[in-house]
């Protein structure tokens, strides 16, 4: 796959919006090793965003969009919340329909794309907040996993309802005082990563988005496993600095503090046996490729 599909007829090039010309000239479509390091040097699939200054979700969006292994054939599904303010800025097809139904939309979408494009890769990636994933949409989140739907579910976990102004959510920590939890949340943070494992997800990671290289790795793994084997789930801590009383520049530190080994976003992963095998095969192929490139370079220099 490449930029072939977005090429502009020469006669029309001049009248296309500059963003489109830029996309055609500098998109990382077709670049197999695209990743977070392209940010700032190649055309990004997201530029402006309409989130608060310093919002870790905006960082997460950038890292994820830079890391998708196959953006030219990836359709994203969102839900209502802060993410739905960002998706209109994103240069891959994305669907917002209702609040909480994202995994149902993705189930129908993935099956339709499979029917319509046999033999071709069409990745589907869901990206929604914790309210959408765990509260209002939990049924559809789990049922998609039970059915082994082949797409990736990403949850931006900010541990509350951010877009509506900081209400209690199922992924909020116990005891946290918030709107609708006036004396503190009464029950534990829902353990969705464990539930995801038991529900049939083949690749599950719980982490923060403090390290772009880590985000790149888990996104690529999650998409590859979903494409070949079955459902995958990433729970990424993207704190709402506004609602937890932090300043714009404090998001990164908040994530670093929360990923310490004893904290709730300490890196945690689960990989099923077939997924382990697939990832090992992919890693071996990449190694082979690198070795061949090295050899070629050496031959040229000799």
């Amino acid at each position: 796959m490449s930029k072939e599909r977005i090429k502009i007829a020469p006669e029309f090039f001049e009248i296309m919006p500059p963003e489109y010309q830029d996309l055609v000239n500098r998109a990382t479509y077709g670049k197999e090793d695209r990743g977070w390091k392209d940010i700032g040097t190649a055309k990004e699939l997201i530029e402006e965003h309409s989130l608060c200054a310093g919002c870790p979700e905006s960082m997460a969006f950038r890292y994820i969009l830079a890391s998708l292994p196959n953006p030219e054939d990836t359709v994203m599904v969102g839900s209502t919340g802060c993410t739905s303010l960002v998706f209109p800025h994103v240069a891959v097809h994305n669907i917002h329909s209702l609040f909480g139904n994202q995994n149902a939309i993705a189930s129908g979408l993935k099956r339709a794309l499979t029917v319509r494009f046999p033999g071709r890769i069409k990745d589907v990636v869901v990206l929604a907040g914790d309210g959408a994933t765990v509260d209002i949409g939990l049924d559809m989140t789990l049922q998609a996993w039970f059915r082994q739907e082949k797409f990736t579910t990403i949850c931006f976990d900010n541990e509350l309802y951010a877009n509506t102004g900081g209400q209690e959510s199922g992924l909020m920590q116990k005891g946290f005082v918030a709107k609708m939890a006036p004396v503190g949340k009464m029950f534990e943070k829902v353990r969705l990563p464990e539930i995801a494992r038991e529900s049939g997800c083949h690749y599950v990671v719980n982490c923060t988005v403090s390290k772009p290289s880590l985000v790149e790795k888990v996104i690529r793994n999650a998409v590859h496993v979903a494409r070949e084997i079955g459902p995958t789930y990433l729970q990424l801590y993207t704190p709402c600095i506004l609602e937890i009383g932090k300043n714009s520049m404090e998001g990164l530190q908040e994530m670093r503090d929360s990923e310490k080994p004893t904290e709730r976003f300490a890196y945690k992963e689960y990989i099923s046996e077939p997924a382990k095998q697939l990832l090992a095969e992919i890693a071996a192929k990449e190694k082979e490729k690198k070795a061949a490139a090295k050899e070629q370079l050496a031959a040229q220099q000799a």
Binding site: N101, G108, A112, R116
Partner: protein, 402 residues
């Protein structure tokens, strides 16, 4: 650019993709004795559907399961059972966003549970076809026939048609896709019938040849982009209007809602051509008219026959489409009527209200008889209502409180 036609070619099941006008209006028909559920299956066999998503609820469960058999036979490309009607309608949306021709069925409480999806379907311009086999939605639990749910569907921006017979159902399923998928319409269709009366009774239905099918859906005729990344987008907008509180945001939303309803209006011309008009009339010069939709029309026909035996002449207006609403046709058809009787299978009398809002001298409308909660509507109670209007004595029907 070179173009090729699919007409005359065969699909994987060996069915010939046929010009739909030929298939529906000229091709030979075979009379068959089927239940309404089986008729749904036979229509879908010929509809070239990509994706069907099912969920059990009486009285549509049989039809939904029969379409599973079509999937097993290879007539439908994808089929599964969702987890609830809300999820199913979202799964249908996902499949339609991805460019598939989508079919589903629901009823009563299922329609209500899924309701949030329907304005979204219309707003997203997804030409999904949903069969609604109407049943009660009240508490205490009722599974019996009742058309109240249609009154909720008619404000969603969907096309809403109300079939009287299994033959209507058969033809309208196939014709429905033709109207729904027109680029200037491109809206979902709720094809309603009265549960049990149509789904669970057998009737002679004239079927089109089984080796002919509709042309496949072409998602690139849609007025909105198909979400398949075949034509990747540039960033869609600089400033998302979704939840902004400013005039441009309001104007965008307002104009899009108006466009959805304008698309409902634009469906008239296609619907008139396919269904031979939005209404069907008999003897509209009579002083008394029965105006209704669904199986209440059939009961009206019987009542007209009974009254004719007594020398009372009554005309009939059968309303086929509730959205688009044929207000001009109804005004014209009822202009001579002194009494307009609107029998309905629901407690609210929503059809009578729609009619009252469409015609001059609306006190001509008699919003009766109403039956609900699964009650049948013997033609005698329509006769009784008409005699009452005419000031004639009539025998009370035992057990009906009249």
């Amino acid at each position: 650019m070179e173009t090729t036609s699919l007409i005359g070619t065969k699909n994987k099941k060996g069915q010939v993709i046929t010009d739909v006008r030929h298939m529906m209006f000229e091709a030979p028909r075979t009379p068959s004795f089927y239940t309404g559920s089986e008729v749904i299956k036979e229509a879908i066999r010929r509809a070239n559907v990509d994706v069907m998503i099912a969920y059990p609820i009486t009285p549509q469960s049989e039809a939904a399961a029969l379409i599973g058999e079509l999937f097993a036979e290879g007539y439908i490309k994808e089929y599964f059972r969702g987890e609830s009607e809300f999820a199913v309608m979202s799964q249908c949306a996902g499949a339609a966003f991805g460019g598939a021709r989508v079919f589903t069925t629901t009823a009563g409480p299922g329609t209500m549970r899924a309701m949030e999806n329907f304005p979204m379907w219309a707003g997203a311009r997804l030409p999904i076809q949903m069969i609604v086999t109407c049943r009660g939605i009240n508490s205490p639990l009722s599974i019996q026939p009742d058309t109240l749910e249609i009154s909720y569907l008619i404000q969603t921006g969907m096309l809403v048609w109300h079939a009287e017979t299994a033959q209507d159902f058969y033809d309208w399923i196939l014709k429905g896709y033709m109207v729904s998928e027109e680029p200037d319409v491109h809206l979902p269709l709720a094809l309603c019938c009265d549960g049990f009366f149509v789904t669970h009774t057998k009737d002679v239905v004239n079927l089109t040849p089984a080796d002919m099918c509709l042309p496949p859906y072409d998602p690139y005729r849609s007025p909105v982009p198909c979400m398949d990344m075949e034509c990747p987008p540039v960033r869609m907008m600089r400033d998302p209007f979704v939840m902004k509180s400013n005039y441009i945001s309001y104007a965008t939303h307002a104009s899009w809602q108006q466009e959805v309803w304008a698309a409902v209006e634009r469906s008239r011309k296609h619907t008139i051509a396919w269904l031979d008009g939005l209404i069907e009339t008999e003897n509209t010069d009579a002083d008394i008219l029965i105006v209704s939709s669904g199986t209440a029309v059939s009961q009206g026909r019987e009542a007209i026959r009974l009254l004719a035996d007594e020398g009372i002449r009554v005309g009939l207006v059968k309303i086929k489409t509730i959205r688009p609403w044929p207000w001009q046709e109804i005004r014209e058809a009822t202009k001579n009527a002194k009494h307009i009787i609107v029998p309905e299978f629901n407690v609210a009398g929503w059809l009578a209200r729609e009619i009252k809002a469409s015609i001059p001298d609306s006190d001509r409308v008699v919003a009766a008889p109403h039956v609900c909660g699964g009650m049948t509507m013997p033609p005698e109670i329509i006769v009784s209502e008409i005699k009452n209007v005419l000031g004639m004595r009539d025998h009370a029907l035992a057990g009906r409180g009249s």
